[in-house]
Amino acid sequence: MKKYISRKIFMYLLTFFVAISINWLIPRMMPGDPILNLISKLSRQATNNARLYAELNQKFGMDKPLFSQYLLYLKNLTQGDLGQSIIFYPKTVAAIVSKALPYSLTLTIPAILLSFLVGNYLGALAARKKMLDNTVLPFWYVLTATPYLWLSMLLAWLLGSKLNLFPISGAYSFSRLPSATLSFVLDYLHHWVLPFASIFFVQLGGWAIGMRNLIIYELDADYSKYLRALGAPDKLVRRYAYRNARLPQITGLAVQLGVVVVGAITTEVVFGYPGIGLILAQAILGQDYFVVQGAFLMVVLCVLGANFFIDIAYIFIDPRVRHSMIGD
């Protein structure tokens, strides 16, 4: 057990290390002076440039050899210093990213988990009957094949502008400031529905298809045959198949986390939802590299964390994993 966990921790640390190193390396491989790139944002106040250039150069140690720059970068990271935003000057990247993170998390985590639960449930349901399967399967395919932004736009247009059911911009009404009241929470949820639904439905299709395929395999497995041979009703056979099909789906969940980020970015842009995705998109257009990197790091950190969590949770969910660990 210990060995397994420490091995996992080592792998994740290594992955994180690689990620932050990539993050550091890419801007330095690009032609041109990264600091000057940043400074060009400050054009409106020309007088600031020389000073800021010197300051940033020193801060990021651009005058030092590459290796010391790298060490400095790592040191800054350990202190939570992700750098200085340019388009959101004078906010630090850490401040911007940490403000945006809760919005992204409250949007994507429920979307992923609920689509996982519902998708698996519906997929298992569809695997039950040929008729049902043949009628809903094309629907799942179309759902997963839909680009997030296309669905977002259609939802915004139909449920937002045409039917006037849901607001289409922001995380809560512009007529409010956050407060700990029920009406604020309701308002927040009301704004949350459409962006949530865009991610939810696209994901849903994928889960349902995955579950359907897995169940079909599981229903053909020896243990299912044996149950049938012992005269167990279909209900029990399916329940067991579902139980086992869920496990690879959970591994899929870990992988999906990374993919959902795409959906989150475009969806947040469409709905002006003030999460990491929106910040990232803005930073990209504004070439604010420090913010891009900060957001990237945050996303990587979240995905790694979730993966780690799932890996550990697996020990408790799947006796096979637990058993193989004892064998270790």
């Binding site: 004078p90 929106l278 070439q287």
Partner: protein
């Protein structure tokens, strides 16, 4: 296990069902709908620092919370009193006497005095528009302050009188001047003198709340009907349009909204300054800037030929769907009363250009740019291949569309021109370093009290390649005479129009003859309002609110503030 899952599903379904119901029911909101005006446009990034003297100031802060001495009526070209009752040049021509209105106070109740004015204009060097040529600021009494200039640049000073915010000495004197732009005042430290104070903010909004003890209620006999102004960060084009048509949480947008003519036609609640084309007032001029350090742009004949090749009508009609005015002539001036005295039509007629591709071809032929290898594209006189690109930042969709028209026009006269859409960062980088071929820009060509701002933008500087140019002569057009003329223009007092026009005529003559930068089209002051809650928005007809309809940063001082005080509840 099974049961809990079913419960989750049920709960989810219930949630999804009840939310729309909750929405259709009369919604309890924190801000009364009739107390609040929701605006967007002009706030492009998340609110970061509430420091009024940085460039990244959230829109509305200068104007609503911090006030300038004067305001400028950009429709009628008049300076109007605001904090100051008057700002008058003394007989020596070097002393500007500022007299404050009676009863000016800060939002904490303490008086705003001439001391604060003197402090503002002598504080630091970074953050001070008069740094370098303000000699002293003498406080005469509580209400009066003399600003003494060593070398009065009348037009620049005039501009800043209605732009620059007066800051409270008691707060800022604690901040070392060199740290002024890094200072992030807390909400408690955000003490302004204006009609609104910051109530709160988030990633996508700033909420300003009316200060009912504002000095101007008595001092200016002016009040603001909306208890709150909610500034919403610029949103996606389609979201802005949807929210505008709903009018629920958006009353006015200063955004370029694609498809607006078709959209307003079906939405009677939507209001624009002009009922039909051009819908918007003119605000700034977009120039085509060739890089004079590169062939063939260092050839005057070539540049003039380009000017004749461009169909500016197409830009207006197609790229902008007739949402902007067509320029009267080729001088590149705004049709604006403040600039009217300098609209020397005769120069435009004699020396200017108009869309005429035959003329463009003739000029190119005459200058030796001919198609010698028969590929339909012109070569250099020496026969070598000629091609160039024209840059516009990626994502500026209206400009990208306009640029496609321009490069098509160039191809029509046989020039191998390609549109180039770099990211904004690279666009700016190439621009300030002078590494582009051609680009489109409008930074300093905005509506102001004097066309000096335009000529300062275009012709006041020269930076050799290798150094960064930040003012506006990005193409490195080197003409010392012109630079001196612009400085001379600045030194002529505002009211001596005839004298200054003599100089401007010289500038315009050189501009039209040499065509260093080609004026293309006049961008609009994008403005759409929904009249369901608030009415009497500025409009050509049927509105008593005759103010420049803009809430962009530093445009509240030229009309936006006045507009907000004159809208009415329906």
């Amino acid at each position: 296990m099974q049961r809990s899952k079913r419960f989750i599903l049920l709960a989810l379904a219930a949630l999804l069902l009840t939310l729309p119901l909750a929405a259709t029911a009369e919604k309890e909101t924190d801000f009364g709908r009739k107390d609040t005006v929701y605006v967007t446009g002009g706030m492009w990034s998340i609110p970061t620092s509430f420091n009024p003297i940085t460039w990244s100031v959230p829109a509305g802060l200068r104007g609503l919370t911090y006030e300038s001495l004067l305001t400028y009526d950009a429709l009628s070209d008049q300076l109007k009193p605001w904090l100051a009752k008057s700002a008058v040049w003394q007989a020596d021509g070097k002393t500007l006497r500022v007299t404050l209105n009676p009863g000016t106070t800060w939002s904490d109740g303490s008086p705003l005095t001439a001391e604060d004015v003197a402090f503002t204009f002598t504080y630091g060097a970074w953050s001070n528009p008069f740094a370098g040529y303000l000699e002293t600021a003498n406080v005469i009494d509580d209400r009066t302050c003399d600003l003494v200039f060593s070398d009065p640049a009348y037009h620049s000073i005039n501009l800043n009188l209605y732009i620059w915010p007066i800051i409270p000495q008691k707060i800022w004197s604690q901040i070392p001047a060199e740290e002024a732009t890094d200072f992030e005042p807390s909400l408690e430290q955000s003490i302004g003198s204006g009609p609104y104070v910051i109530e709160g903010y988030d990633q996508d909004r700033v909420v300003y709340q009316r200060d009912d003890d504002w000095w101007g209620i008595k001092g200016l006999e002016r009040s603001f009907p909306a208890k709150r102004v909610v500034y919403i960060k610029s949103m996606a084009n389609n979201v802005a349009m949807a929210m505008l048509s709903q009018g629920r949480e958006l009353d006015m947008a200063n955004n370029y909204v694609s498809g607006l003519p078709a959209f307003t036609a079906n939405n009677p609640a939507l209001h624009t300054y002009y009922k039909g084309a051009p819908y918007n007032l003119p605000d700034n001029i977009v120039f085509l800037m060739p890089n004079h350090t590169k062939k063939p742009f260092n050839d005057t004949a070539f540049r003039r030929a380009l000017a004749f090749a461009i169909n500016t009508d197409d830009i207006v009609e197609i790229a902008y769907e007739n949402m902007i005015v067509k320029p009267e002539n080729s001088l590149g001036l705004l049709p604006h009363p403040g600039w009217a005295a300098y609209n020397n039509d005769d120069i435009a007629k004699n020396l200017g250009y108009s869309f005429n591709q035959d003329e463009a071809s003739r000029l190119l032929d005459a200058a030796g740019y001919r198609d010698t290898d028969g590929d339909g594209l012109r070569e250099y006189p020496d026969g070598s291949a000629l091609s160039f690109k024209v840059s516009v930042p990626y994502g500026w969709t209206d400009w990208m569309d306009a640029l496609r028209i321009i490069t098509d026009n160039f191809r029509e006269v046989g020039l191998d021109a390609r549109p180039d859409f770099p990211d904004e960062g690279r666009y700016q980088n190439e621009m300030v370093k002078g590494e582009f071929d051609m680009l489109l820009n409008n930074w300093g060509a905005y509506r102001s009290s004097s066309p000096f701002s335009l000529y300062q933008f275009l012709f006041s500087t020269y930076t050799p390649v290798g150094e960064d140019e930040w003012t506006g002569n990005f193409g490195r057009y080197d003409n010392e005479t012109l630079r001196n003329l612009v400085q001379e223009f600045n030194r002529i007092p505002m009211d001596k129009t005839q004298e200054s026009n003599a100089i401007v005529r010289q500038i315009q003559t050189v501009h039209m003859q040499d065509m260093p930068y080609i004026p293309l089209w006049i961008n609009g002051m994008w403005f759409v309002a929904n009249t369901n809650t608030w009415t009497n928005w500025p409009g050509e007809v049927g509105s008593t609110n005759q103010n420049y309809p803009s809430l962009w940063t530093d445009k509240l001082q030229i009309g936006g503030l006045w507009m907000l005080s004159e809208i009415k509840l329906k």
